[in-house]
């Protein structure tokens, strides 16, 4: 790996700028790092409230939409298959699943908002939906994130005829071809040309309810 040396250079060190003492290297890098860190922390402190507010607003809107306007909601954590009010301690905190329990102004429980996901046509689809264990009905559904094809798969979020069907649909949901339904309470008409996306949404909800059903039932059975 020896670079060709000019004869007069005495062979010491690579050609190019004069060698610098390692101390100075460290000092410069350290200095730059510290300055960069400081700048980032500064910007972070300035922007953090706004970012947090956006995040909260987004969540708020979603929960509000699928629970049909609760007066307030609590955040619950799924720990070992049961719902807890406090996050689990330690490292697991960040990764633990959350559900949101909505209440009317007078404190009656409306139901739970649950976020879940599965692979759709293009990529993972993430949805949040409201569910009332007491009646076994889905209260509403909103797609949080999807990359489905514009004009086809994106109807799962843009087509109100599709999203509207989830309001009050009995679980488990049954996906049917448009017009092929027999009028059963859990039927949801899928979207022609986007059967995969529509079916994924339905499956996400059914799977999430299979998984969390017992915990939700237990929680809604407990005293308010």
């Amino acid at each position: 790996m020896s670079a060709p040396h000019a004869p007069g250079q005495g062979g010491a060190g690579p050609p190019g700028p004069a060698r610098v003492a390692p101390g100075r290297l460290l000092a410069t890098l350290g200095g730059a790092g510290a300055a960069a860190g400081a700048l980032i922390v500064f910007v972070f402190t300035v922007t953090a409230p706004a970012i947090e507010a956006h995040r909260a607003r987004r969540l708020d809107e979603a929960v509000t939409e699928v629970l049909k306007g609760p007066a307030r909601y609590d955040t619950l954590y799924v720990v070992d298959g049961a719902l807890r009010a406090e996050p689990p301690a330690g490292a697991a905190a960040a990764g633990s699943e959350r559900v949101f329990r909505g209440h009317t102004a007078d404190g009656t429980r409306i139901g739970y908002a649950i976020a879940s996901q599965a692979p759709g046509f293009a990529d993972v689809i993430r949805v949040i939906f409201g569910y009332d264990p007491a009646s076994g009905q889905v209260l509403g559904m909103k797609v949080l994130e999807s990359k489905e094809t514009p004009g086809l798969g994106d109807k799962i979020e843009k087509d109100t005829a599709f999203t509207g069907q989830f309001d009050g649909a009995a679980s488990p949901l049954i996906g049917v071809k448009p017009g092929a339904g027999k009028g059963a309470p859990g039927e949801v008409d899928m979207i022609t040309g986007a059967t995969i996306s529509a079916r994924t949404v339905i499956r996400i909800i059914n799977d999430a309810l299979d998984r969390l059903g017992p915990a939700l039932a237990a929680d809604s059975g407990s005293a308010p």
């Binding site: 700028p17 706004a50 514009p150």
Partner: protein
């Protein structure tokens, strides 16, 4: 050092040496986030900001940064500006921030930015580095907008979300899908190359081409 006028420093990057269309640098964002004009604009501005900021800092620190660690130092500086841009976008335009996703963070590794630091900012005065960064950044922004406009207009029939052709228009969905990105850039390059060749032919026979054609 190269002998260029400040005017050249500024204008060079905008078209003649456009980073995307001529040097094919920074292709990832040019393809990944140009499915709408708004995204292209945001990405272009963020990149512009990072490029100018980094160039400023790198050129002012150029005597302090030892050659051995210069690349690391540049990346550190760039990463800092990117983090700042990322947080700023998240705070100011959260929806666009969400749409751009990971690609804001990926500005760090945009070869165009590092390339300008290594090739220009680290060797020139603050003023010239600034001009160069503004030129290059604008060039990038222009390329992004060209891509974004073609893709949004054809792919959705809208420009910045405003419908152009009315309800009956059949959008060419492929244009906003990944293949459309490749096709659009490919087509832009073909067009450029066609223009380039035509001009070269014209210059080769100065003023003579029409006459020749008539004679033939």
């Amino acid at each position: 050092m190269r002998t260029t006028t400040p005017r050249q420093d500024l204008l060079r990057g905008i078209w003649r040496e456009n980073p995307v269309l001529i040097h094919l640098l920074g292709l990832c964002p040019a393809l990944a986030v140009t499915n709408t004009v708004a995204n292209s604009l945001a990405m272009g501005i963020a990149t512009f900001f990072v490029l100018t900021g980094s160039s400023l800092l790198v050129s002012s620190l150029r005597r302090l940064i030892p050659a051995e660690v210069r690349i690391s130092a540049y990346i550190l500086i760039i990463a800092t500006f990117v983090t700042v841009a990322d947080m700023a976008l998240a705070a100011i335009v959260p929806d666009i921030h969400k749409a751009l996703g990971a690609f804001i963070a990926l500005i760090v590794v945009n070869c165009m930015i590092l390339g300008r630091q290594e090739a220009f900012a680290s060797k020139n005065t603050v003023g010239r580095a600034l001009l160069d960064a503004v030129g290059t950044g604008t060039g990038f922004l222009i390329a992004m907008l060209m891509m974004g406009s073609v893709r949004e207009v054809l792919g959705a029939g809208t420009f910045l979300g405003i419908s152009l052709f009315g309800a009956g228009f059949e959008p060419w969905v492929v244009m906003v899908l990944p293949p459309g990105g490749f096709f659009t850039l490919g087509f832009l390059l073909l067009g450029l190359s066609w223009f380039e060749r035509r001009r070269a032919r014209r210059q080769a026979v100065p003023g003579g081409a029409p006459a020749l054609r008539r004679a033939a």
